[in-house]
């Protein structure tokens, strides 16, 4: 019987050594070497984002949960954020700047999930740096239309769960209404961003666990289930565009489905059959027809429905436990066909 020493003491305390960071008691936060992005050129479009660490979200049971998120605007000291964070919508081929401003009291980044820029613009702290007490500009040129999202990549396990994400849509040059150049078009657009919340996590500080303290981030026991920023277990997401949608027979509905939680999901389309043309921002070689889908964290599916029969169709997404597979909760919205 052998004893293998896989144990080391973490670096803690103030800064130094490229590792600990340490301000505010954080460890393994990489703000001390922050530089300006060396490759900036004049952009076609700029998005400014700041931080809001106190966004109240009222659930159907009357409880209010604190969410974190991004606000629209540069240099905003606090407040103004929404959950989900304000969307970023760009045209394929544009040179885009996303400028993040962060106060001294926290560290954050923006990672444009599914967008594949240079490493300085990827927003991953241990490879570049976390942003703290200043601004940083990410530069990217999206080349593939489809559905993405952006989220914080600092202490990601916590910050993304706390709601620090927003939709990121890349349109082809034709603009909204066309999914892919020369490809499918749509008349109505819906956003199904399905997530779960463990309210216990929502009492933690931004740096929780980073120095090795056991704050239970290996256990996500959700007690609320969200679709596109609202409690999805009751009626809040029903008849609430752009979560729900109303389409006429003969029209096309594009649903942009983002699996934004950490547990796997199963989404059912209530009797509608859709066609998946794009997943994770890449066209499928052969589009597939689906009546339901399973997905896991970070996946996106762009599904076009061409309903032929009037009626109300209930879209349901189960959040299933990552080990047991048990259904933990179900969110609902509706598609009304007239």
């Amino acid at each position: 019987m052998f004893n293998l020493n896989n144990r080391q003491r973490p670096m803690m305390g103030m800064g130094g050594g490229g590792g600990g960071g340490g301000m505010g008691g954080a460890c393994y936060v990489y703000d001390e070497n922050q530089q300006a992005n060396p490759n900036l050129v004049t952009p076609d479009v700029t998005f400014d984002r700041s931080i809001d660490m106190n966004i109240p979200l009222t659930m159907d049971d009357g409880n209010t949960i604190t969410m974190w998120g991004f606000a629209d605007g540069r240099g905003r000291m606090m407040g103004g954020g929404t959950f989900p964070s304000p969307p970023i919508r760009v045209i394929q081929g544009q040179i885009v700047h996303t400028t993040l401003s962060v106060r001294m009291m926290w560290a954050h980044t923006i990672h444009h999930h599914g967008i594949e820029p240079g490493w300085e613009s990827d927003g991953v702290g241990h490879i570049s740096w976390d942003v703290r007490g200043g601004s940083y500009t990410y530069q990217w040129r999206p080349m593939h239309p489809g559905t993405y999202f952006y989220h914080c990549h600092t202490n990601t396990v916590l910050h993304a769960e706390m709601g620090m994400y927003g939709a990121l849509i890349v349109d082809p040059p034709e603009g909204p209404g066309t999914l892919l150049s020369g490809g499918p078009t749509y008349d109505v657009e819906a956003f199904w961003v399905v997530d779960e919340i463990d309210s216990r996590w929502h009492t933690l500080s931004w740096n929780a666990g980073t120095c090795g303290e056991d704050v239970g981030l290996n256990i996500l026991n959700p007690d609320y289930f969200i679709i596109t920023g609202v409690d999805g277990t009751g009626t809040s997401a029903m008849n609430t565009p752009p979560i729900s949608a109303t389409v006429h027979v003969g029209q096309k509905l594009l649903a942009r489905y983002i699996c934004a939680g950490y547990h796997p999901q199963r989404i059912r389309f209530g009797g509608l059959t859709g066609t998946v043309y794009v997943s994770d921002g890449r066209p499928l070689p052969k589009p597939v027809q689906v009546t339901d889908l399973r997905a896991h964290s970070g996946e996106r599916y762009d599904i076009i429905f061409e309903p032929t029969t009037p009626g109300e169709y209930i879209i349901e997404a189960d959040v299933t436990h990552w080990i047991s597979g048990a259904v933990l909760g179900t969110v609902r919205t509706n598609v009304t066909v007239i």
Binding site: N5, C27, Y30, N39, G209, L217, I219, G281
Partner: protein
Amino acid sequence: MKRRDFLKAGSAGIAGSLLGGAGLLAWAPRAHAATISKTFYITDGFIDQIDGTSVYFKGFSSNADSLNVPGESMIVQEGDTVQITIVNTLSTSHSFVIDGVVDSGAIGGGQTKTIDFVAGSYGSFMYYDKLNAPYNRLLGLHGGFAVMPQGSSNELYSGSPTFVQQYFWIFHDIDPAWHDRLRRGYTPNTEYTPRFFTLNGLIGRPPGAPGNGDPTLDAMHDLRSALHGHVGDRTLVRILNAGLCAQSVHTHANHMEWLTENGQVRPDVWKKDCLYLDGNMGALDVIFPFEVPPDSWPPVTTGTYPMHMHSEMSQTAAGGYYMFGQLTDIFFE
């Protein structure tokens, strides 16, 4: 109880990788089938975790005095005769199984057994101990096994998209309470609650952490895990999940070309940045293409990017320690 330092055990695992393990830069196909022999020693021991806890494991080890979790990966060719000798150094019964290929049956404590089988169809497989399932596998008795198509150096299956190098990513999740119950001969009686999440047996050690950059300690720099390539070095990754958690495998810099799911060739190749990896022996084969990151401006050909699970609980250790979980880095050189 003997003690070994992890560096030595880790190095032994890598140095012994004649049959694979490190990124295989050049698989040389053979015109004729060969006999491939390998001896695994079933050993046990404790591995100290980042938070100071000591967790009991068993492994298919390359030497009688080492503990390898996972066991060393093997790559053979279709038609090869594979001769596996299992030396069970423990007092409990164990087995060596590749589903659909070979099952040693129970090998009693202190016994040695040699099994022969012909490597049939191409693909990526897990070898593991199927006794007392899933417990013996969860204790660490698992490893990767690959069969290359006959005469091919650059395909997963005949006609597949091609690659120039290949890796195994074997993921695992660990509940120390279960390991302790099993060590004492009991069946776990608590809800499975993993506290550690490993890639090829290691956790990430971010910059500033002790062990950062040490390929025997740091999953971000483990030569078996971290992808290294120049633009164009298309890389096959054989992904196996020995743990119980369903995971979402997420790459930065490039989408993955998704070739197989749980041993089945996909009808066509989707490009995905997140892939659903089933728990309890899920499997995927993907090609990381090492293309210029498509949304970079100006375009870049070098840089470092992460691969991590997007099921982010797996990025932690002992309930915190973000980045000390299942992740590695991808180096564009």
